[in-house]
Amino acid sequence: MINLDTVAPLGASQVSPLLVSAENLPIARNPLYYAWRRFLANRGAVFSGSVLALILLMAVFAPLITSTSYEEQKFLTENLAFPSSEHWFGVDDLGRDFYTRIIYGGRISLSIGFVAAAFSVIIGLPLGALAGYYGGVVDWVIMRIIEIFSVVPPLMAALLLAALAGGGFVSIVVIAALFGWVQVCLLVRGQVMAFRNKEFIRAAQALGASPQFIIFRHLVPNSISPVIVGFVQAIPLAMMLEAGLSFLGVGIAPPLPSWGQMINLGINFMFFYWHLALFPTLALAITVLSTTLFGDGLRDALDPTLKG
């Protein structure tokens, strides 16, 4: 044992018990577990999450909670009826049960939201990782591409594209993904850049790891937070885009129900049969609001530094 006392005396205990068993420590916890605890402490976020879960369940189990289909025009004699015990949300102008249409509209909107968000991640994650890891020219090119997508007013371009593609489920998903990946890419890029020069990456390089190895084994797992946040935040954006496009007539076409489309219809009957405008509006507002608050709560729990 080397004694450093001659130069600078050290603390009294130079020799402390080294071989201490780890069994006395509390249970090993992955860092994500603490994030989950933080999330649970945020009551607003938990509430929003529950509302969202409820809406999701209603959408998934739609056939079980509705008695008719959304396109059957069965109730022509009761056209434009206000809510009643038989038709909870009333009847629309073509004799369809409005409650059913709202529920199925939720299905459509939510599925577009989730699928488009998934594609946003599929596009944005690799691009963000590449831009963050390689920097330099690669980063510059990707930032230019992002800039291209940012300066064009997204709604106008989306309108153009929707008119081009003719509307419909697939094209809406594609368009929404096209405008959603940028946010995910920026989040991932930021995270990767922050970790890029950390010593554990250098250590892996010193061991001879290839860039792919480092990206997949270190950078991506450490980017889970921004990916989750990006995904959840992309959902309401996609839903709003779909609603907007449907509202303008280039989105989901009848008889498939979509809240945006129903709002458009509702305007025509607004002054007398305002229930036709109110319910889709409320449905959209509540869904988007709860999804966004849930996403914010997730973001705060996972990594507060991700705030704008």
Binding site: L4, V7, L10, V15, S16, V20, A206
Partner: protein, 325 residues
């Protein structure tokens, strides 16, 4: 070459130079000249086999940069890096990979040295994954052995870095570095962020491991008292250049260069009578105080130039001095 015996050095840096660009970035296409910062200036370092070379200097002296270049984690602007005689300066990553098993590095920031999302077992086993060694069971065994070797109980294997103290994390970094049984270990300020008592433990550990495994170590630090206990030979760097090189005790008893002397004065001392000797010298004071030596007393290394240069004043003691005729 400054090595005084004829054995092939374990690690050798020849005329190593590194310049950094400041400002501008890569769009210099618009014709703006970039300002350059010379971080490392034609440095010759040679680590003898199975010995410890201490590299000392303040922040910005270029010592960490030398370490990173030696590991090929940073590209050198000029100069060569030789490992056991093999020139690795320009090898591509495929050729370099097998050689990487021979040399490893540990860093100052113990928390950033470990992937926060991985258990210790995965962290220490990573070298085996990269180099495709051992079966799964063998890896578990070896990781346990390594943990014990660095003084941690085997049961730590399933823990995460955030559950450990700084000293314990540093031990894990050491375990990971030693997994591939390297011949050369570069330690970049491994104890600078640790408490004094923990410093001693880690130094002791490194000393034992070095003797046991016959490691050749390049120990980079700014703390002379730490280096004294570990290094056989010391090189002092200042503003990217070597200003003094000698065996450890020669530095402590017989420092020649003003910068080395100021470092020695700065070592914290318990003895109150010694404290008054501490002085701080600015760059110009140091430049003014460089020893002026008569040409006959010394031998010049390499090409002679005007102004201060590295000269040999005894068999293994070198100083940057001005030569007078």
């Amino acid at each position: 070459m400054l090595a005084s015996n004829s054995m092939t050095p374990a690690l050798e840096l020849r005329q190593l130079t590194k310049t950094f660009e400041i400002g501008g970035g890569f769009k210099s296409a618009f014709g703006r000249a970039k300002r350059m910062h010379l971080a490392v200036d034609c440095v010759d370092i040679s680590v003898k086999p199975k010995s410890v070379l201490g590299l000392v200097g303040e922040s910005g002296s270029g010592k960490s940069t030398c370490g990173l270049m030696a590991m090929r984690l940073l590209d050198a602007t000029a100069g060569q890096i030789l490992v056991n005689g093999t020139d690795i300066t320009n090898l591509n990553s495929a050729d370099l990979k097998p050689l990487r098993r021979k040399m490893q590095i540990i860093f100052q920031d113990s928390y950033a040295s470990l992937d926060p999302m991985m258990t210790l077992a995965r962290i220490i086993a990573e070298p085996f994954v990269i180099h495709d060694m051992y079966s799964h069971q063998e890896r578990i065994e070896t990781v346990g052995d390594l943990l014990e070797r660095v003084g941690l109980d085997r049961s730590y294997a399933n823990r995460y870095p955030h559950e450990l103290s700084g000293g314990q994390r540093q031990r894990v970094s050491i375990a990971r570095a030693l997994a591939l049984k390297p011949k050369i270990l570069i330690a970049d300020e491994p104890t600078s962020a640790l408490d004094v008592s923990v410093k001693a433990q880690v130094i002791n550990l490194l000393h034992d491991l070095q003797e046991e495994m016959g490691l050749s170590m390049l120990f980079i630090s700014h703390e002379l008292n730490v280096i004294r206990s570990l290094a056989d030979e010391i090189i002092v760097m200042y503003k990217g250049r070597i200003v003094e090189q000698a065996p450890t005790e020669a530095i402590f008893q017989n420092a020649q260069h003003p910068y080395t002397k100021s470092l020695l004065y700065a070592i914290p001392s318990v003895n109150p009578r010694e404290r008054s000797r501490r002085t701080f010298m600015s760059a110009s004071q140091i430049a003014a105080d460089i020893p002026v030596l008569a040409r006959d007393d010394i031998s010049i290394i390499g090409q002679e130039r005007s102004g201060p240069q590295l000269v040999r004043i005894s068999e293994d003691h070198f100083v940057e001095a001005t030569v007078s005729n």
